[in-house]
Amino acid sequence: MSAAAVHSLWTTAATSPLKEQISKIDAPKIEYGQLSPTLIVIGAAVLGVLVEAFVPRKSRYYVQVFLAVVALAAAFAAVVGLAAGGDGTTKAHIAAMGAIAVDGPALFLQGVILLTGLVAIFTFAERRLDPEAHGNRVDSFAAQAASVPGSDSEKAAVKAGFTTTEVFPLALFAIGGMLVFPSANDLLTLFIALEVFSLPLYLLCAVARRKRLMSQEAAVKYFLLGAFASAFTLFGIALLYGYAGSVSYATIADVVDGSIQNIDPALADTMGNDALLLIGVAMVVMGLLFKVGAVPFHMWTPDVYQGAPTPVTGFMAAATKVAAFGALLRLLYVVLPGLRWDWRPVMWAIAIITMLGGAIVAITQTDIKRLLAYSSIAHAGFILAGVIATTPDGISAVLFYLGAYSFVTVGAFAVVTLVRDAGGEATHLSKWAGLGRRSPLVAAVFAVFLLAFAGIPLTSGFAGKFAVFKAAAEGGAGALVVVGVISSAIAAFFYIRVIVLMFFSEPKADGPTVAVPSPLTMTTIAVGVAVTVVLGLAPQYFLDLANQASVFVR
């Protein structure tokens, strides 16, 4: 063989057809306008990392808070602009080369996530609750997360006035992932969004200022179980890819329905293998149910909610649930409607044990954060009842419930940050005895949130529960509604018990004090109360909004 011939094995002439072919590959088309909410938030998060690197320590806090608030407000404005322009209804479409859907449910949930994220950021920025340390105002986060609790380096960090301002970019990254999660339109985007919002949350759990050992323990538990669950999700994605030969939602849906055109031999082979489909779906749905905290995948919830810094708990309790239910809805309604006779019975069982399990175990709790964690599990069950409806009404009811629930949650956890004793937040329920005598306003606000959790009329909780149960009953899940009402009654018992404890028992002599917060936390609580009352008294406008937003694009 001549030298030139051998050479041509690994080189090519400059004008060969291959080179022309490469230059002809179409660049992907990205709809920057439609994706702007996500891009703004992620961009601000990247800027926040740069701020950590270049801005002097003294001014970082102010720059980070400003950046986060402006970014979230701008992203919310972008969502409203898109919705007003009809992207949620008439012009719903699939953007970014099939990776992201821009439609009603996506925009509605993105709006909810951004608003709850915004009010949660206010509680992150709160600096008046803890007493000043060496003349510096401190927030809920460790002076230096890397220093060992109780060590000299920790004392030095506190004395130097360090604060973990990294929490703001971390929260923005998490929100960015949550914005993509309910709008992901292929399984790869779903998985990446899942990781993008989970990884910052693991870190946020670990950086509490008080009770640091508990905080680190919560982070380890959340991380190991979260990584375990996402490995299951990924294997499920692999099996679904094997079944359908694609990760795109639309293609998988076609293959499941059997309506796909031009089937090649490999696809014909795998399509016939129902084991791939059923095991794959089970594993992906399991990963999502882990994120929403449904029984039996709820074991992490109480520990993580209790150990994490309370502002972080409020944020993730609200926003994670919204994002994960959005993704679950899209998966079940867009990809797997052809399989609903298989997944509905399973989801029935999960909804029932979630509602009953959360409500019953909550009765025995003695810590307010654990109590709210179990209550969030019960609420996941109520929302699942709406998911099972498989009707357009089911979608809009779930959207409305998520909007109502997330603001109540952020508000309730913001109130928990106010009740303090020498060791930080006084979360043991016995400490809350007689709070209504000592600070009637705080106790009354908390009572409003508890009544909304319990679903008492004139609060947003009632409107949400009514919508969800109505949709479930019309969708043929009457038995589920009966179980839902029974577990609501059980849940009402422990909510009312806390109210009775606050208002009708004698305050203890060594009871906690109620800190006077800055306008930041006040805004969070005020927004929570306002949304609870407005959605309770006049839900119609918002139900209509959720109704308009209840059509998935495919």
């Binding site: 991380f223 190991l224 375990f228 299951f232 094997g242």
Partner: protein, 99 residues
Amino acid sequence: MNPVNYLYLAALLFTIGATGVLIRRNAIVLFMCVELMLNACNLAFVAFSRMHGNLDGQIIAFFTMVVAAAEVVVGLAIIVSLFRSRHSASVDDASLMKL
């Protein structure tokens, strides 16, 4: 060789990883088992990619590697901070919040 055999191997590795997470007690070992599960997923993706004759699976494998690397960064940071404050990485010792 029949690509289905690679799927059996992937399922086997995934099961070994999952079993390890359930029975081992050291946080680092648990974490390595999770990584084994992710690598089993990669093997399944690449095998399916070969079966279907498209490149999606191979590209997803790259994404998985990046995600696994990011998870290592976050996970080791958390586990090391736990180890430094307790001098133990056992997940059984971390039981402050048991009822």
